[in-house]
Structure formats: structure tokens, C-alpha cells
Amino acid sequence: MCHRTVVHVQRAIEAIGIPTILITVEPTQTVQARAPRAVHPTFNAIGTPVGKAGDAAGQRALIERTFAALYDPIEPGSIRELSLS
């Protein structure tokens, strides 16, 4: 449910004209809630959407890939899957 709630907030922010991007590990819920922009790192799980505890390099790499997706947009409401390598 928290993956639905976050999309409600995301939609409100996007609707006032500020771009957003969501890192989701519950892609089905994210699509159903109609997220404007989302990435799904398939190698991360619930509890570690950004990366494993202590893995600063992995967390940083994921955030950079998430931001990079902003410049290669896909249809709003769909999700960009990010896989390892």
C-alpha cells in the first residue's frame, strides 16, 4: 500500500508542474496507481529499493541511473525497468 500512497503524492507534485521520478520495487501497484514516471530496479527488493545496507556505491549508481532515465523518457504511466549490467 505504501507504493500506492507514494504515487498519490507523486501525482499531486507532478500536477503542480514539478517533475518527479519514483524508484519502485512494487511495479504492479505503481502502474495501477498511474505513476507519472518510475523506474523499477529488478535487482532490488522490498526493503531495499535504493540498494543494500552499506552499499553506498550501489545506491549511488542506482540514483544516477534513475536520474539518467529523466532524459530518455517513456510514456507516462509505464515503468522503466533497470536490470544489472
Binding site: 500500500m1 505504501c2 507504493h3 500506492r4 500512497t5 507514494v6 498519490h8 503524492v9 507523486q10 501525482r11 499531486a12 507534485i13 507532478e14 500536477a15 503542480i16 508542474g17 514539478i18 517533475p19 518527479t20 521520478i21 519514483l22 524508484i23 519502485t24 520495487v25 512494487e26 498511474r34 505513476a35 507519472p36 514516471r37 522490498i46 526493503g47 531495499t48 529499493p49 535504493v50 540498494g51 543494500k52 545496507a53 552499506g54 553506498a56 545506491q59 549511488r60 540514483i63 544516477e64 534513475t66 536520474f67 529523466l70 532524459y71 523518457p73 507516462p76 504511466g77
Partner: protein, 139 residues
């Protein structure tokens, strides 16, 4: 009277700004809040907490019963990457961070409260700030 967004509609604002000129805010429903703040009600809570973006990671905690937050307890950046974003400002990747980040638990049966109060309040605070981009995470 603000325009009401149809549930099936998808709002979309283009982003074409260089990251080095971008101020970022972080919003999460992973249940993160300051230890000094009132914890979320794990039975359901649609409220939010303002988390200063210069908070020490050690001053943050997670109150949430609907996912295993062992990783986030050890390293809050696993769900709420506050230190990673600060590093990206320090090395020039990003221009800056909004002074206010936002934490929610996300589990609530009061959807109307989220739609009518919490989401618009957070959006309005962000609109009035210098934020150019919002990064969001779930649990």
C-alpha cells in the same frame, strides 16, 4: 478551486534541466522520520513528517510494520538516500537539496486524507520552494 485530477489521468511535467542546475527534494513512504518526531501509527497513518535534508542519518528511524526494514534500520539510505543525495551535491552532480524532505508511512485506510490533505500539502510546500525535481521511494 484547484482542478481535480481524474484518477485515470496521468499528470506529466517534462524535465530538461541539467542535473548540475537541479535542486532535488526527497519524498518517501518507507516510514522514515526523525527520532525526535512523533512515530507513525503502524495501524494506519496518512500524515507526514518534515525531515530536514541536512539531518544526520543517525537521527533518523523507521516506523512501519508492513515491510522488513532491517536494511533501512542499518543504513537509512537503503530506503531514503539522504546521504547519497548530499554526496551528489558535494561533488557538483546536483545543484542542491530542498531544505525539507518528506517522510510518510504510506499504510493508511484513510485514502481521502492522503488525496485531500497530505498529498496537496506536500505538493504546495514543494511548489513554494526552489525544488526542480522530486525523487520518491516506497518501502
Amino acid at each position: 478551486m484547484p482542478l481535480e485530477l481524474a484518477r485515470r489521468a496521468i499528470p506529466y511535467t517534462p524535465f530538461d534541466r541539467p542535473l548540475s542546475e537541479t535542486t532535488v527534494a526527497l519524498v518517501s513512504t518507507a516510514g522514515v522520520h526523525l527520532k525526535s518526531q512523533e512515530p507513525f501509527d503502524v495501524l494506519g497513518d496518512g500524515s507526514y513528517r518534515i525531515i530536514p535534508s541536512d539531518s544526520n542519518a543517525s537521527d533518523l528511524t523507521i516506523t512501519h510494520d508492513h515491510y522488513d526494514h532491517t536494511a533501512g534500520d542499518q543504513d537509512v539510505n537503503a530506503v531514503f538516500p539522504i546521504e547519497r543525495l548530499r554526496e551528489m551535491v558535494a561533488d557538483g552532480t546536483l545543484k542542491g537539496l530542498n531544505p525539507e524532505f518528506f517522510g510518510m508511512m504510506g499504510y493508511t485506510l484513510k485514502l481521502k486524507q492522503v488525496l485531500d490533505e497530505t498529498a496537496p500539502e506536500i505538493a504546495k510546500k514543494i511548489e513554494r520552494s526552489s525544488t526542480d525535481l522530486v525523487l520518491l521511494t516506497g518501502g
